[in-house]
């Protein structure tokens, strides 16, 4: 990946990440988040993690974010006023976060972390290599993950179902939102 491209993408990622934090309208935040994810996916591909990069787009941008979108619609979130409550805390917190970033970059820039490069083997990042790892070394984890996803589907349904209460409201839309999206996301990952 040529450096200028990296610089461009990095700047884009940071800007859109900031967008997530500073924008008032949840939908705009979501869009910034999506663009961050896309940029990061491109960075993945630039780092020879092709499959994972595409998976990032498919799963994150394609499924999870849509889930967010639906929830925002479902709750009908409007543009919110500026930050209120615990202003001091929040400023301090953001300062602390900035300090954290500085510290981390300092630490990561430290010479001892300069790992000595190892040439990537042929077919690095290809589906074959990923699947090879997944179904040999990480097989158990993989299967457990599938169980986890199943549990997530059930949990989402159980949580989002509206109990038929005195008001007699049906239980249709939230379940549809929760369950379908969850199933969507999970099957996406497995598929």
């Amino acid at each position: 990946m040529p450096p200028f491209l990296y610089l461009f993408l990095g700047a884009l990622a940071i800007v859109s990440a900031l967008g997530v934090v500073v924008q008032r309208n949840p939908i705009h935040c979501l869009l910034s988040l999506i663009s961050t994810l896309m940029v990061i996916a491109i960075l993945f591909i630039g780092e020879d993690a092709v499959v994972v990069g595409f998976l990032q787009i498919i799963v994150y941008a394609g499924a999870i974010m849509v889930l967010f979108l639906f929830v925002i619609w479902l709750l009908n979130l409007q543009t919110e006023s500026g930050p209120t409550g615990h202003i001091v805390l929040k400023t301090l917190g953001s300062l602390a976060a900035a300090a954290l970033a500085a510290e981390l970059s300092l630490f990561l820039a430290a010479p001892h972390l300069q790992v000595k490069m190892i040439q990537e083997p042929a077919g690095y990042g290809s589906l074959e290599s990923l699947a090879g790892k997944l179904f040999t070394d990480y097989l158990v984890a993989f299967e457990v993950t599938s169980v986890l996803l199943l549990a997530a589907v059930v949990g989402a349904v159980a949580l989002a179902r509206r109990m038929p209460n005195a008001a007699g409201e049906g239980a249709s839309d939230p379940r549809a939102a929760g369950a379908i999206r969850a199933a969507q996301a999970s099957s996406r990952v497995q598929g």
Binding site: I27, V51, I57, A61, Q184
Partner: protein, 371 residues
């Protein structure tokens, strides 16, 4: 390197153009084909000179559809409703169009040809993870309509957006499963390789097309594709009778053109993908590199270049044929109800797709084709 870049760029443009032209053909077919099916004359007023009829000039409606419609739409006022999110409202159509357009580039439309020593693969980007790329772009197609519905501050639009999003996402899953089973059969993510894998014949006469190796996947992909492109019988998001025009109710002028183009392009894309995955792409039955190997065993030789060109032509023909088929479907079937749509998607296609994947896996393992 640069040569590849150049050729790739050229072919990318070529591919996009093919897509657009297919869309135009679809537009035309919307008008005249529907008229044909419904026993109407269809649009026949405008013509080059404007007096086509008088001079008995043949008027196939090409003029109206390909020129008059866009012109009419472009000249309309570009209207943004009050209280709408202007930025997103403007952005949405292009977000919708973008993924479709960039998906064209991975579709192989021909075999490798050698021009002046250069061997050129007739696909814009011979991507090794092509199928994944396809899934990714399909996944992004949602946002355009969703944002369009949300940004235009209109209940019907929002409803249409929600419907469109839910529908597309649900059917993407089925489509993904179909693609997965195809990938498993051909053992590669590279679309060009998949098409190559569909060369040759079985029992001397039956071409190894995906439609024969993966009939179930073909059906799933077909249905899901129609649903993806939100056409009848899956055009719930823009069902005039319920939501005025669905997610682009509030769109007019150029943006509406973009949306219509998106729909048509999606349809064209689906047609091309069907061709690539199941109808052998640029493969012609019994046509090998050196000519036709007819079932009888007779061989009539064809020069290599001609083979390649024939392949491209075959690809286009198949794509057009599928487009026509889709159009006919559109003008034949009635519209689903939304719950029926969801049930078909989640209770019909997805389990079928999973089952198909399972069977495919079993077969692959049984035949020991697993590496």
């Amino acid at each position: 390197m640069t040569a590849e870049l150049i050729s790739g760029a050229i072919m990318a443009i070529l591919m996009v153009l093919i897509g657009l032209n297919l869309s135009l053909f679809l537009l035309y077919f919307e008008r005249k084909g529907s008229a044909l099916i419904q026993d109407r004359i269809g649009s026949n007023r405008a013509s080059i000179t404007g007096f086509g009829k008088r001079f008995g000039m043949p008027n196939l409606g090409i003029i109206n559809t390909v020129i008059a419609d866009p012109v009419k739409l472009f000249t309309k006022e570009d209207f943004v409703p009050d209280g709408a999110d202007k930025f997103l409202h403007t952005l949405a159509p292009f977000i919708a169009l973008f993924p479709v357009m960039i998906t064209f580039v991975i579709i192989p439309f021909g075999d490798t040809i050698s021009i002046g020593g250069h061997k050129i693969d007739l696909t814009a980007t011979n991507l090794n993870a092509g199928a994944l790329y396809l899934l990714a772009t399909l996944g992004l197609g949602v946002y355009g309509v969703a944002l369009a519905g949300w940004a235009s501050n209109n209940r019907w639009a929002l409803l249409g957006g929600i419907r469109a999003t839910a529908q597309m996402i649900s059917y993407e899953l089925a489509m993904g499963l179909a693609i997965v089973s195809v990938i498993m059969t051909f053992g590669t993510l590279n679309l060009q390789e998949i098409v190559r894998g569909q060369g040759g014949v079985w029992f001397g006469f039956l071409p190894r097309w995906g439609i024969f190796t993966q009939p179930l996947a073909f059906v799933i992909f077909l249905v899901a594709g129609v649903a993806e492109s939100k056409r009848v019988p899956f055009d719930l998001p823009e069902s005039e009778s319920e939501l005025i025009l669905g997610y682009f109710t509030e769109y007019s002028g150029g943006k509406q053109v973009v949306f219509m183009l998106t729909d048509l392009a999606e349809q064209a894309l689906i047609a091309m993908l069907l061709t690539t995955f199941f109808l052998g792409g640029w493969q012609i039955p019994w046509l090998m590199h050196d000519g036709f190997h007819l079932p009888g065993g007779a061989i009539l030789a064809v020069p290599a270049l001609a083979v390649s060109i024939l392949g491209v032509i075959a690809f286009l023909v198949k794509a057009v044929a599928v487009c026509v088929f889709l159009g006919m479907v559109r003008w034949t079937l009635p519209r689903f109800r939304y719950d029926q749509l969801m049930r078909l998607g989640w209770k019909g296609l997805v389990p079928l797709g999973l089952f198909n994947v399972l069977v495919t896996a079993f077969v692959i393992v049984a035949t020991g084709k697993v590496q």
